[in-house]
């Protein structure tokens, strides 16, 4: 055995560096989010206390938050149902973040995608399910993609910042949906209130667990979500296109010098991002609601921003964040029923989670004992 005192080759060092998970990584990826959730829940409790909720009710509220999200099969079914659109739209946003595009427009893309899916869902009669359902899903994706591509094109052609344009496109999409819901052909005949025609059974996402209990709402959308997670992972990390997306996000100048067509990439990324948001909208109308009405999105497009940030724009992280937010939403509904604490508390907790996850230094300052003393790269 010869022991060489020659330093390891740079490539070997690099491989080692990538394989070995440091304590810092574990802290950053596992510990910080867990502690962030704990701090947010504690602060949520303090806010309840400050608004005159009694201590026993706070106990009931936290209990309901737990049982309503993971306490039973039906709770888990609700969590998964709520997690699907958040994860899908969150994946779209994460894709954009990776490419350096801050798409705030998931809400608008989701609404118009949902409207398109509804339109296809009731317009084509006598189609077999294996054609009708994919057609409706595809319609949602295409419309979402086109709506987002407007912002991408504006950015590429004129430099208009996507944050402003996507916010404006959100407002426009909401008004557009309101108009469509009040007028034929979308509006349900004979109704004066804004509501769409119902999606035909052949375009509805089948429920998965009705054989266990007919009230369980979880549907095929959660499987589609998992497939989408895998697809985005593959796209981002295993394809050339994904590499172009990521490199134009981390260093646009260098990517341009490397011969990547930045304008095309911007439009393409926005379209992919919008397609996923549109799919989220289609998922809601085809899987849960069966039709569209004003506010059918439930603000999922805005919550998705938080999901993408919390998941650190990594597909698997987004899935976990989506599940967490879905659990908070399902548990929050139970909390409102059992403890009389309004569900708006959940958005406060979600906002606090994002703040703390985005500010690891703050979490370290609050829990100094949980972390190693020396922090590489920070402080």
């Amino acid at each position: 055995m010869s022991t060489s005192d020659k330093p390891a080759s740079p490539i070997a060092t690099e491989v080692l560096r990538r394989v070995v998970v440091t304590r810092f990584d574990v802290e950053q990826i596992v510990l910080v989010p867990i502690l962030a959730v704990i701090i947010a829940l504690v602060l949520g409790g303090i806010i309840m206390l400050a608004t005159g909720v009694s201590l026993s009710s706070i106990g009931v509220a936290f209990g309901a938050l737990f049982t309503g999200s993971v306490g039973s099969i039906s709770a888990i079914s609700e969590t998964l149902t709520a997690a699907a659109p958040l994860t899908l739209a969150g994946l779209g946003l994460a894709l954009g973040f990776r490419a350096g595009l801050f798409n705030i427009g998931a809400e608008g893309q989701l609404i118009l995608g949902g409207m398109a899916a509804v339109a296809v869902g009731f317009a084509f009669t006598n189609l077999p399910m294996f054609i009708h359902l994919p057609l409706a899903l595809a319609a949602g994706m295409i419309v979402g993609a086109l709506w987002a591509a407007i912002a991408g094109w504006l950015k590429a052609a004129t430099g208009a910042h996507e944050v402003i344009t996507t916010i404006m496109l959100n407002f426009i999409a909401m008004r557009l949906a309101d108009y469509m819901l009040r007028n034929p052909p979308i509006q349900k005949p004979g109704r004066s209130d804004p509501i769409s025609q119902s999606v035909l059974p052949s375009a509805q996402l089948p429920k998965l667990l009705t054989w266990l209990d007919p009230t369980l709402r979880v549907h095929l959308g959660i499987i589609i979500t998992v497939i989408a997670v895998a697809f985005v992972y593959w796209l981002l990390f295993k394809t050339t296109t994904g590499f172009e997306f990521r490199s134009s996000g981390s260093n646009p100048e260098a990517s341009r010098y490397a011969g990547m067509r930045s304008s095309l990439i911007i439009v393409l990324v926005m379209a992919c991002s919008g397609a996923l948001a549109g799919l989220a909208g289609a998922n809601q109308v085809l899987g849960v609601l069966g039709r569209a009405s004003p506010g059918f999105s439930g603000g999922a497009g805005f919550d998705a921003i938080a999901v993408a940030l919390l998941g650190r724009s990594h597909p698997v992280g987004v899935l976990l964040a989506g599940l967490l937010f879905g659990a908070l939403e399902a548990g929050g509904r139970q909390m409102q029923v059992s403890a009389g604490v309004r569900i708006d508390l959940i958005s406060i907790i979600q906002a606090l989670i994002i703040i703390f996850v985005a500010a690891p230094m703050l979490v370290r300052a609050i829990f100094p004992f949980a972390f190693a003393k020396r922090v590489p790269g920070e402080g």
């Binding site: 916010i167 095309l264 805005f302």
Partner: protein, 421 residues
């Protein structure tokens, strides 16, 4: 795709400018066709704009415009402006002509909508000023923080926090108490944003989004959990208009500018002070230096962090004042999410106003005009669905941002954290 050839950077920059000029040209030509085709065809009668309101000291005659000739003159002007864009050297002035063109389109639209009817122009200008207030203040918040290179997406949440505090504290302490409390809470939001982005180095956009979510959640939660039960906590007094002696008796102008409430005067004063501070004081110069080149400013002994803290916190206080407009300045009652995106439009006003307080004010007036137009047009019974009228300000924002932004330049260090070695 024009950036493919990067070996020659200046030429690609020229190309981008050239292309933008051409886009503006095509846009103006399209507007000309639109105005002539949609508004002009079959138009007859006269548009009667009332300038005097009942109770005015001086009665001013109505402004009567022959509808069809006016619309066609506007279409011709637009076509001329559009064609001009294709000439050499048009790039420098194309932003101005786009602005004038859009203004003309709006006047043509008004004339078309009013043809054969009468419409109170003074009343609309009055509500334009009122509705521009929160947008102008939102834009000013953006200017104050982006001039020291902190991007503030959280304006919407800061406005909402001011609106909520104004309603609750105003119910408890009266109007002035509510206003002061709203300013303090807005300042705290600004302080929170600065602490997150400066001390804890949270990504600026993430911090802003989180503040929006946090304030929206907190205000909705407290209003549904507490205010629905204790209604007297959500019943604040409203500041009435103050008539400025002599000036308020002037025709048209008096009604529009000098009979408003303290929020309008306050906004005007704040914009004047901010302009003086940023461009005529030593500290303002330092603030701008921090926004352009923090390393250099630091080398010269300027405390980058402290200046950023101060500016962003003052911005938050301005947002608190602007937020109080929604409750203390108009209805006296807080409703969930009542700011309705004004903070984001303020951000657009900042960009359109080229990061200058006065520019932001002018842009806000445009948005305020669109906003009040949409309200007043319901009276005229225009054959356009109300949803499409409601979209108009947002579409206008996109057009303006797309048309202007290439020529406006953000502070160089905008959005970048500064890490002192």
């Amino acid at each position: 795709m024009t950036l493919r050839d990067t070996s020659n950077a200046p030429s690609s920059l020229d190309q981008a400018k050239r292309r933008q000029t051409l886009i503006t040209g095509w846009l103006l030509l399209a507007l000309a066709v639109f105005v002539a085709g949609i508004f002009g065809i079959g138009l007859s009668g006269e548009a009667d704009f009332r300038l005097a309101l009942p109770g005015d000291m001086f009665a001013v005659p109505d402004l009567v415009v022959p509808a069809a000739p006016y619309v066609f003159v506007v279409a011709a002007l637009l076509a001329f402006f559009g064609a001009r864009q294709f000439a050499r050297g048009a790039a420098r002035t194309s932003a101005i002509f786009l602005g004038i063109g859009l203004f003309l389109v709006v006047t043509a639209f008004l004339v078309w909508a009013t043809a054969g009817k009468s419409f109170s122009l003074t009343g609309m200008l009055e509500s334009t000023i009122v509705r521009a207030v929160p947008i102008a203040l939102g834009g000013l918040v953006g200017v104050l923080s982006e001039r020291v290179a902190v991007v503030n997406i959280g304006i919407e949440g800061m406005l909402l926090s001011g609106a909520f505090t104004g309603a609750v504290a105003g119910s408890l302490l009266g109007g002035w108490g509510g206003l002061v409390a709203a300013i303090i809470v807005g300042g705290l939001m600004g302080l929170m944003l600065s602490a997150l982005v400066i001390t804890y180095r949270v990504d600026q956009i993430i911090a802003g989004v989180a503040i929006n979510l946090f304030v929206l959640g907190l205000t909705s939660y407290v209003s549904s959990q507490v205010l629905t039960q204790y209604r007297w906590l959500n019943n604040a007094p409203v500041f009435r208009g103050i008539e400025i002696p002599f000036l308020s008796d002037l025709p048209v102008v008096g009604r529009v500018l000098f009979q408003q409430n303290i929020f309008v005067y306050g906004a005007a004063i704040m914009i004047a002070i901010a302009t003086y501070y940023l461009f005529h004081t030593r500290m303002g110069l330092r603030a701008r230096a921090v926004g352009e080149h923090p390393e250099a400013a630091d080398t010269l002994g300027i405390n980058v962090y402290r200046l950023r803290y101060i500016n962003v916190t003052i911005g938050g206080m301005v947002a608190g004042f602007g937020g109080a407009w929604f409750t203390l300045g108009s209805v006296g009652r807080f409703d969930d999410n009542m700011t309705g995106g004004r903070g984001f439009i303020g951000l657009a006003a900042m960009i359109f106003g080229r990061w200058h307080p006065v520019g932001a004010l002018l842009a806000a007036l445009v948005f305020g005009f669109a906003d009040s137009l949409q309200q007043k047009l319901a009276i005229l019974q225009v054959p356009i669905p109300s949803e499409f009228l409601a979209m108009a300000p947002y579409i206008a924002t996109i057009v303006l941002v797309a048309g202007i932004v290439g020529r406006a330049r953000a502070p160089a260090a905008d959005g970048k954290p500064y890490i002192k070695d």
